[in-house]
Every structure is written in structure tokens, then in C-alpha cells.
């Protein structure tokens, strides 16, 4: 890599200052504030602030509902990431083919990314709605099973997983498309000449060469699923039925902003933050070794 040398000592700092300021104001400061708040019992207007040590954490860890929420979050995030990436990879490979109207296909496939999670939720709510949704109507011709996600937990969870995958799909596709186009045609042609079929070529050449993209997207989707899906859950299921879709980030929001239990909510964000830091660290430690740049 080319190394840039700045003659002026202050210029590099001045150049990164805006980014640093944003990071400090919007990331570090709130993060430290949640750390502090998680040790308090706080009233909504801040007129009462009682130090209670780790009592908020104890209350969380003694609550079986919290562990159900952890499990739900992992199931949700794994499905969103794995299924989401697989679908994006398959469709990116197809969109990479030399066909007519490719530009139109690509633009259409990228579209969902421009939609806010809450709006994506509402769109899927209409598709899935037990009374006036399109999907239950079609399914009613095939089966008499009632896909009422107001009462059936697994249907509700499936619904938000599908909506989250769809929402993140455009982003994943864009990166896979870019990755596919960076693969030199000569390598694939050489493999063809050696007699490798399309499937063999995909698994021995394309997929390994895409590994940096996959690794990047995996981390990013995991973070998205853990942190960014609050609007989706809020618009569609509000965590229900029961607590079937009450993922960690939604719980933290609900207890904090709806329930006004600020310290308790802060404790949940701290645990969530630690979980995602741990997950990312594990990915970088183990998965990165398998990545060929």
C-alpha cells in the first residue's frame, strides 16, 4: 500500500476531526452514558437517580423471559444473515449473467434497500395480514391451517425474518454483484477448459474468491439484525404474540422509551453491546483466517 506522508503535523488531525467529532458525539458519549445509567434506577425526568450497583443486571439475569429473548435474537439474526446472504448470492450470480435488460433487473433488485425498516414492516404486514393479506388468502386454497401471526409465535417470527431479509437484500446484492464482477474471467475460462461444470466452478473458484465480501456482509448483517431491526418489530408485531418476537434490541427500546425504566433499559443495551462486540471479535479471530484476499 502507498503510504501518504503529511508534512504538517496538524493537517491529518484536522482532516479526521469531523469524523471523530461525529463518532464521539453520537457513539462514544451515548455508549458511556448507558454504561453509567445501567448502574442506576432513574426516573423519566432525571429528578431521581438512585445508585443501585448491578441490581438492574441481576434483575435481568434472574428473568427467564430475558433468556428467551436472547435465544430469539440469535435465531432471528442467524436466519436473517444466513438465508439473506444465500439468497443474495444466488440472485447476484443470476444478475451477473449476460442477459438483456440487465440494468433494469439490477435496479429493481437494489430497490428494497432504499426503504426504512418500519416501512418494510408495514408492507409485509399487508402481505401477511391474517384477514386481508395476500399470502394467507393464497395459502387458504392449499391448506386449512390458520397462519394467524397475532397468535402463532413461529409465524410472527418467520414474518419479521422474511421482512428483514428483504429489507437488507439490496445491500447484500450490490456487494455480491461488485464482488462477482471483480473475478477475472480468465480464471473461470481456464477452469471451463479443464472441464469444470458451472457448479464446480462456483464452489471452487467463485465462492472462495468472494470470501472477503461474504465475511464483510456476514458481520454487517449480523449487526443489522441485532441493532437495526427495532422499527420492523415495532411496526409489525410489537414483540408478540406473547414474547415470540421480542428480540433484545426491541426489549431494550420498549422497557426504556415505552416503559420509562431507563436504568433497566440501559443495562439491556450494555449486555447487547457486549454480545455484539464478542460476536464481531470471534468473527475476526476465526473467520478472517479462512478469507482469501
Amino acid at each position: 500500500m502507498k503510504r501518504t506522508v503529511f508534512r504538517n503535523r496538524w493537517l491529518p488531525w484536522a482532516l479526521v476531526a469531523p469524523q471523530l467529532a461525529v463518532t464521539i458525539a453520537f457513539f462514544f458519549w451515548p455508549a458511556f452514558d448507558s454504561l453509567r445509567l445501567s448502574l442506576y434506577r432513574a426516573s423519566p425526568f432525571g429528578d431521581r437517580l438512585i445508585f443501585i450497583g448491578f441490581a438492574n443486571f441481576q434483575r435481568l439475569l434472574a428473568d427467564p423471559a430475558y433468556f428467551r429473548s436472547v435465544t430469539t435474537s440469535f435465531v432471528f439474526s442467524l436466519f436473517v444473515t444466513l438465508v439473506g446472504l444465500s439468497v443474495a448470492l444466488v440472485l447476484a450470480s443470476l444478475a451477473n449473467a449476460k442477459i438483456r435488460g440487465l440494468g433494469v433487473y439490477r435496479s429493481l433488485l437494489l430497490w428494497p434497500y432504499g426503504i426504512a425498516p418500519a416501512v418494510a414492516g408495514v408492507i409485509w404486514l399487508f402481505v401477511f395480514h391474517p384477514s386481508f393479506g395476500v399470502l394467507p388468502y393464497i395459502l387458504s386454497f392449499v391448506t386449512t391451517y390458520q397462519f394467524n401471526w397475532f397468535l402463532k409465535g413461529w409465524v410472527a417470527l418467520t414474518l419479521i425474518i422474511v421482512a428483514a431479509i428483504w429489507k437488507q437484500f439490496g445491500y447484500n446484492l450490490a456487494f455480491y454483484l461488485a464482488g462477482l464482477q471483480a473475478i477475472p474471467g480468465s480464471v473461470l475460462e481456464a477452469a471451463s477448459v479443464d472441464g469444470a461444470g458451472p457448479i464446480r466452478r462456483f464452489f471452487t473458484i467463485t465462492f472462495p474468491l468472494l470470501s472477503p465480501v461474504t465475511f464483510f456482509l456476514f458481520t454487517l448483517n449480523m449487526t443489522f439484525a441485532f441493532f437495526d431491526t427495532f422499527g420492523l418489530v415495532h411496526a409489525v408485531t410489537q414483540g408478540g404474540p406473547g414474547d415470540a418476537t421480542s428480540i433484545l434490541v426491541y426489549r431494550a427500546w420498549k422497557d426504556g422509551f415505552d416503559g420509562l425504566q431507563l436504568g433497566y433499559s440501559a443495562a439491556q443495551s450494555v449486555i447487547l453491546m457486549l454480545l455484539v462486540i464478542a460476536l464481531t471479535a470471534v468473527q475476526f479471530r476465526y473467520a478472517e483466517k479462512k478469507v482469501t484476499y
Binding site: R48, D255, Q261, Y264
Partner: protein
Amino acid sequence: MLSSGAVYPVYQLMKDNAVALDWNDLIGPVKSYYSTGGNLYSMAFNSSTPILYYNKDHFRKAGLSDKAPTTWDEVEAIAKKLQAAGVKCPFGSAWPSWVLVENMHAYHDQPFADHGNGFDGLATSLRINGPFGVKMMEVLARGAKEGWFTYGGRLNKAEALMTAGECGIFTTSSAYIGNLTRASEGKFTWATGFLPRLAGFPQGSSIIGGATLWVMKGAKPEEYKGVAQFFKYVASTENQAWWAGVTGYLPLTNAAAKAMDASGHYAKNPNQKTAVNQMSNGKTTPNSQGIRLGNFNSVRDAIEEQMENIFSGHKTPKQGLDDAVAKGNEILKEFAALYK
């Protein structure tokens, strides 16, 4: 809000700014809900109470007489007939906790929480798993199981079912009248009635819900002067009659209710009178003056979560309510610890 110490009580504000308002003219339930020690602390803005709606077209189709059910036994019998006639949502309800738990308790003079529902001191435990609560939930659980009660989600999500013309009987806020009037125009006809009663329990009163305006401390005196004038404007008979007339919220003053009667508004819109009549028919008791809990939103969540577990058959009514009480009490304990 009341406990926070961050608010400027409304009665004080009006007195300090020498703006006269006849507090005694506020309708009873509104006054009692927002007062402490006989003094009004916040200014009621939009208050409504749940009532029953029914789709006349579905009733006609099922060969039923054009009359709202008045008891839960009747709701069950009619809903079963509607179900047999192919109605997709024979009975439904919005705001599950507010309508079917909070209001049903008050309506039958049953306590919702200890310390007079939080009016006589900080409430520390819920009382919803008593004989009444369990019996009420058994009716609904049976309906969900047999298919004559369609659960349509939390908050007011279920209103979409009624608006789409799929429900036969529906319970939700009287404030829904405005929406339903516009949505049903030219599509279906409907009427309203009192909330159904459960036989064998005493008469209480339904309670109000909605929003109230709080005044925060720390603003300038001339700003408070403006706030006082604004409240006077909001409470004026003319504005109250207009606001209640276009929405279905309750008129907040007796004068406004009288004015609406006098102008013939209620004669033309009898459905808007239902909530007013239901309130004046009720008996205000310590159990039906309202509910005042800390972290009430979280408590409601805990209740609705368990209602879903009951309706889906995961838990028995008793088990679900016991779990809701346990979770609710934990939340109340947190609040009490903050303001001890």
C-alpha cells in the same frame, strides 16, 4: 408524571394567572382521573371510553335482530350465530388490556390494583387474577378457541378488522366513531351500544382513556399566561362541542354536553351519545374512578403479552393472569423503589 416533581399543577397555574375556569363543570370521571386532593393537576385534552359497535349488515345476514348485545352471554350467543353465518370476525376488540381487562374490572366494580387502583397511594400489586378477572378471561379464551373471538393484535391494530367490515361485534374507544363513520360510508352500516356486562357482578363504571396536557416547570411567566389562556380556550363550550362532535371523544364539560344536546347534534348522531350515556349510567366507586400506576405502559405490555398466551391456548386463563400479575408487580415494585 404526577410523582416526578417536574410539573406545574394546572389548578395552580390558573390561579396564579387569574384565569377563571369552572372546574366543577368538568364531567366527573375526567375530574377524578386528573385530580389529586380535589385539585386538578393536568388539563384533560381528549378523553374517551370504550363502547360496543356492531355491524348491522352482518346481523341482518345472520337473521339477528338489530339490537346490541348487553351481556357477555349475549355476545357469545350472537357471535356463534355470526360465525355460523360465515362472518370472519364474529367478535373482536382493540386495546386488549384497556378494554377487556382495565375497563371490564372498573365496569363491574372490581379492583384492578391495590391502594384504590393507585389513587390512595403507590400501587404495589395488581388484582386482576381474582374470580372476576379469571371468569372474564375464560369467556375470551373460549371464544378464541371456538373461533368466535378473533384476536387482532395489540394497541388499536384490531380496528383494521372492523374498518374492513369483517367484524360482527367489536369493542373499542368511542373515539373510533369518527374513523368508522368515514371508513364505512357507502360500504356497511353499524350502530353502537354499551359495553357488555358479565352476569353476577356489581355495577361500576367504564373508565376514560386518552391524553392530558401537563404543564412543565421552568418556563417564563408570560408563557404561562399564554398556557392558561390556551386551556381556557380548549375548555370553552364551543370548542369542546366541536371537538367531541367531529371525533367521538367525550365532551369534557357538562355545559358542552348540554350544548350538543340542545343543538340537536346527539339526535342526529345517536352513536356519539352512547359513551356519554354509558358514563352517566355508571356508578363511580373507588374501583371505577380510574387507574393510576407507575410505569403503566410496561404493566400493560405484561398483561397483553399474557393475554396472547391465553388466547393462543399456551396458558390457562388463571395461569396467564397469575404470570401477568407477577410481572406487573415486579414493575410496580421498581417504580415504588424510585419514589419511596
